[in-house]
């Protein structure tokens, strides 16, 4: 008999039914382990979910683009069989400008090229070469996303070999390719784009990707990496992702849950966990806030490192140094969400004035990006550094009703708007008050681009970073469970020495966005965590 409690009914308890938690559960269930998933909310998906936000309007309250979701997870968990469908829009990004012009990136690269040419012939000439460089680099990055970062002091072949293999693959990009890859990753996205392009309009659309959800400006080093991370979800020859889940993000969670069910995984919603139980430095199960204790051999947390260690495990169970590292993880949420219910489709000046081949709505089918240049973006960030909401925020919005009318009552529309920067820590004021002002500012700004929009608003909901924290458990409203900055990635994520999904508590694992490779709807942390957990479970499966 090893340390395994005799009464364990489950092999694994998974805390949180976010998409990563469900991915891990699916893999563990598929491997034959008895898994119980416990979700605090009544709804699945975590920050990738769909909720009835206003009567008759259902909206993706968290993430709304699933372009980065790993294809191998879709295949290995047979998610298509379980109903998962992606919707790819003809327009990737539509970027109206203050002067009434617009740049549109289409799924068809030829059409994008023509659009870029309208702004700069030189940029258009470089466009294909840029696309292929970006594609090479994102392929390398995608390789690294599904590996487990080795501890810095590791000599173990199991840790290092996959990285060596990836390194050899990256080396196949050629000498220049490899050097470029190493050179570009730590750069500011502004410098990277400046090397290629001259026109601010195109750089604005791309640059905003490099700072999404993070407290960094386009001139901050490391944002080129975040840009590539954002692009890796894009289809071939695309510089942005625009791929939605049919029926809303919740359908991804539902498909994952159905796949897990098929492998015997149990999922209980409305179960708030108050504690991860430990005995002699090892996790034994969880305690629910109704007093119920459930035992398991292994506990996996999809929650943030902060919530997992400081609230569920408790600092007293951990070494001081480790607690200090956990405390020092930077979250610094910088994004707010505005959701508008609209009486009709808004008319963007830039869309109406253009002689487009298709009907106006086509332009609004993908992402609509209000970020007219890198300086505009940087200035928006300047305010946030000192705890202020950007006077001129950057907006990235989607109108899901363009793709699926069932999200709203007939004829009505829904608009999901990511607003940056909205710093969690305000120098003055309180988010519960300021969010009203933010909502007005966003509507005013949109009204400049789409005159009359303000009169179409039936309902509005603003999710401030504080609301994102309350609703989804995202610490400080950080959508990544920890800033994706150079010093919080790879071997440093979530904290130094624990980059392999294991924790100082034996039998306790992390599988959320706070671990490598980070946030976004990728499923990669969940996928990687499952691999490590299975490795450990198999080592310990026989000695009873």
């Amino acid at each position: 008999m090893t340390g395994r409690p005799f009464s364990a009914r489950y092999d694994v308890i998974l805390i949180g039914a976010g998409h990563n938690g469900l991915v891990t559960a699916g893999y563990l269930g598929k491997a034959g382990y008895r898994v119980l998933v416990l979700e605090a909310r009544e709804i699945l998906g975590g920050a990738a979910t769909t909720e009835e936000i206003f009567p008759g309007f259902r909206a993706d309250t968290g993430s709304f683009d699933a372009g980065g979701f790993l294809p191998q997870v879709v295949a290995e968990l047979s998610l298509r069989k379980h109903g998962l469908r992606f919707v790819e829009t003809p327009v990737v990004a539509f970027a109206p400008q203050p002067d009434g012009r617009a740049l549109t990136l289409w799924r068809e690269p030829g059409k994008s090229l023509a659009e870029i040419e309208q702004f700069s012939r030189e940029d258009a000439e470089k466009f294909p070469q840029f696309q292929s460089q970006v594609q090479r680099m994102t392929e390398a990055l995608r390789r690294m996303m599904t590996l487990t970062p080795p501890p810095l002091s590791s000599y173990h072949a199991r840790d290092l070999l996959p990285w060596l293999r990836a390194a050899v693959d990256v080396r196949r990009m050629g000498r220049q390719g490899l050097m470029d890859f190493l050179r570009v990753l730590p750069m500011p996205v502004a410098d990277f784009l400046d090397e290629w392009f001259e026109n601010p309009v195109y750089k604005g659309i791309l640059g905003s990707l490099g700072v999404r959800g993070t407290m960094a400006g386009p001139r901050s080093p490391g944002t080129a990496l975040l840009f590539l991370y954002g692009v890796q979800g894009a289809a071939a020859k695309q510089s942005r992702s625009s791929r939605f889940v049919r029926g809303g993000m919740l359908q991804l969670a539902e498909a994952l849950a159905r796949a897990a069910h098929e492998h015997g995984v149990e999922i209980r919603t409305g179960c708030r966990i108050s504690q991860v139980c430990t005995h002699a430095g090892r996790a034994t199960g969880v305690l629910l806030d109704n007093g119920e204790e459930i035992l398991a051999r292994v506990v996996v947390s999809n929650a943030s490192p902060r919530h997992t260690f400081l609230d569920l495990v408790g600092p007293e169970q951990l070494e001081v140094r480790f607690v200090r590292e956990v405390n020092n993880i930077r979250y610094r949420g910088s994004l707010a969400r505005v959701i508008l219910a609209l009486d009709a489709l808004p008319h963007f000046r830039a869309a109406a004035s253009r002689e487009v081949l298709t009907k106006e709505g086509t332009l609004l089918s993908g992402h609509t990006v209000l970020c007219p240049g890198l300086d505009y973006l940087e200035r928006a960030y300047d305010a946030a550094k000192y705890g202020q909401i950007s006077e001129h925020p950057v907006l990235d919005l989607s109108i899901p009703t363009m793709l699926d009318a069932s999200f709203a009552p007939p004829g009505k529309h829904l608009m999901l708007i990511n607003v940056q920067y909205a710093p969690y820590h305000l120098a003055e004021g309180d988010w519960d008050v300021e969010k009203g002002r933010l909502g007005r500012r966003v509507i005013d700004l949109l009204d400049e681009y789409a005159p009359g929009l303000q009169n179409l608003v039936l309902h509005q909901e603003v999710l401030s970073p504080v609301d994102l924290e309350r609703r989804f458990g995202l610490p400080e409203g950080c959508i990544y469970h920890g800033q994706m900055a150079l010093d919080q990635l790879l071997v440093m994520r979530p904290v130094p020495g624990y980059s392999q999904y294991r924790t100082p508590i034996q039998g306790l694992y992390l599988c959320g966005a706070g671990t490598h490779p980070g946030g976004g709807v990728t499923g990669a942390p969940g996928h990687n965590a499952a691999r490590e957990i299975l490795h450990d479970l198999r080592l310990r499966s026989h000695p009873v």
């Binding site: 810095l152 002091s153 000498r175 050097m179 410098d191 490391g222 020092n328 200035r379 150079l486 010093d487």
Partner: protein, 527 residues
């Protein structure tokens, strides 16, 4: 009969001189060609106003490699480093933070702002000491090429990897963090009080066009700590006679080894014969021939000005054009009628013999950076002041003083107007900022010399006035400096080498690029 040398070194800055001295020491017949009438490049002391000696550009020394001092017998040739022991950070509210070699006294002063910070200060110092020691090794090696597949390079890589694996795990992670974090985030892990965080993080932005909140600046912070390792806090020093004293000592050493130095000899181009360098053409048309030519100029000039770019691989030309060499700093040198008085600490004393840093908080520096991002000089700049005449009385007439003010940010590219139009306004801003802390300053200024990035470029030839010949940003370090695949001091042109701060390990008065280039050249000659 044309002149013929074994080696010609272009530029008599400290790296060019170190390079020449090492080559001469190995028995080569070396000629150093300097464009200006004085040697030293940016490492120069000039008597701009009678009796007042200005450390015109660089002003402190800490990073000069000890092996260079030893190999070139610089002490024998007159190098004297006077200690610069303290850093005084005056604060807008009239208070101050004072740190010097006396650890207990420094701790006590820090404790006035935060007892917790005082406790952490020792740990911080020790950590930086170990980190600098770990990285020091890297400063002394020629960067390997990670993309090369031949055994020699891979062996070098393995050697470096082993070196870092010798660090214990905690140190390894701290190093990883230093290489990637912003200086603000890095110091905020230790400290909470603004004056200490501001003044410490300021070291991370020197010579960069980045703010303390920009990732990568923690490395620059470490770069400035390297000096503090051999002699502890003593190692930040002031060269007797100003930084020009360093150049002169190196020049004397080079001369003693037989090198010849010619001033007022601007080089127009490198002469090539069948893709190899055979000499240089001066601007006056003279041609001088040599077996090899070494450029200590910045990468832009080395590759794009001195040679025909058609002869270089296209990817190198692109890389050098992309090489980030944005100037961000200016300099104001003052001749003073009397000793300046600090509001926070009146009187003359040892507190005026150290560095005086106008960096009251991280936000102060970050805001200074914000102004510059859009092409203006900082309205309230970060200023690093030293008063050389307090350390070396020979720098000014008796009773008078000279003051050296390093200022950031002053972007080379202005959004509006030219630096000629804005020079005096920039000077006024610096004086106004300083006068808040030195109330008597405006009354005692006899002369002032304002150097904008444009002036630095025109006077010493540093492109865009960048003091490091290229920013010390992560993507421009080690095997990426100045361009991937060309970090080994050689160039695609045979017998043409580079040895300036634009090569590994970068700027500051280290002499390391000059020395490493010489070692590489000598190694290749032996083959």
């Amino acid at each position: 009969m044309p002149e013929k040398y074994d080696a010609i070194v272009i530029g008599a800055g400290h790296n060019g001189l170190v390079n020449a001295a090492y080559l001469a020491r190995a028995g080569l017949k070396v000629l150093v060609l300097e464009r200006r009438h004085v040697i030293g490049g940016a490492t120069v002391t000039e008597e701009i106003y009678p009796g007042f000696k200005f450390t015109v550009f660089s002003y402190v020394v800490s990073l000069l490699r000890p092996e260079i001092i030893r190999d070139l017998e610089l002490s024998r040739h007159g190098l004297t480093i006077l200690p610069l022991e303290s850093t005084l950070s005056p604060l807008p509210d009239g208070d101050r933070l004072y740190r010097d070699g006396d650890h207990y006294r420094s701790s006590r002063d820090i404790a006035r702002f935060s007892p917790r910070d005082a406790d952490a200060y020792e740990d911080y110092g020790q950590t930086m000491y170990f980190m600098a020691k770990a990285v020091k090794h890297i400063l002394g090696i020629i960067p390997p090429d990670p993309a090369a597949l031949h055994p020699g390079e891979l062996r070098n890589l393995a050697r470096i990897a082993r070196h870092f694996l010798d660090l214990d795990e905690k140190q390894a992670y701290t190093l990883a963090r230093l290489m990637t974090a912003s200086s603000a985030d890095f110091v905020e892990r230790w400290f909470e009080s603004e004056p200490l965080k501001g003044t410490l993080s300021a070291s991370g932005i020197i010579g960069t066009y980045l703010g303390p909140r920009s990732p990568g600046t923690a490395y620059v912070l470490l770069h400035h700590y390297m000096g503090e390792i051999d002699g502890m806090f003593r190692a930040w020093g002031f060269s007797k006679g100003g930084t020009g004293g360093i150049s002169e000592a190196i020049a004397r050493s080079a001369g003693a080894f037989g090198a010849e130095i010619r001033t007022n000899a601007p080089v127009a181009s490198v002469i090539l014969r069948q893709d190899r360098a055979v000499g240089v053409a001066l601007e006056n048309g003279d041609e001088i021939f040599a077996d090899l030519v070494v450029s200590s100029l910045d990468p832009r000039q080395t590759f794009l000005k001195l040679v025909d770019t058609d002869l270089l691989p296209a990817d190198l030309v692109t890389a050098i054009r992309r090489f980030n060499i944005r100037g961000s700093s200016g300099k104001v040198n003052l001749a003073l009628d009397a000793a300046p008085q600090l509001a926070c600490w009146p009187g003359v004393g040892p507190h005026l013999s150290g560095a005086i840093s106008i960096s009251p908080s991280i936000d102060y520096i970050e805001r200074a950076y914000d102004d510059s991002k859009y092409g203006d000089f900082s309205r309230q700049p970060y200023i690093d002041v030293i008063i050389p005449s307090m350390i070396d009385p020979d720098m000014a007439p008796p009773g008078k003083h000279v003051m050296s003010c390093f200022v950031q940010y002053a972007p080379y590219q202005l959004r509006e107007g030219t630096w000629d139009e804005k020079r005096e306004a920039f000077g006024d801003t610096v004086i106004e900022t300083l006068a808040e802390y030195f109330p008597n300053l405006k009354d005692i200024i006899l002369h002032r010399q304002v150097l904008t990035p444009k002036d630095i470029e025109e006077t010493v030839g540093l492109t865009e006035g960048n003091i490091f010949q290229g920013e010390l940003s992560l993507w421009q370090l080690f095997f990426l400096r100045p361009a991937p695949g060309f970090a080994d001091y050689a160039t695609p042109i045979k017998n043409y080498y580079q040895c300036g701060s634009g090569t590994h390990p970068g700027g500051g008065i280290t002499g390391a690029p000059g020395r490493l280039a010489a070692l590489e050249i000598l190694k290749r000659r032996k083959r």
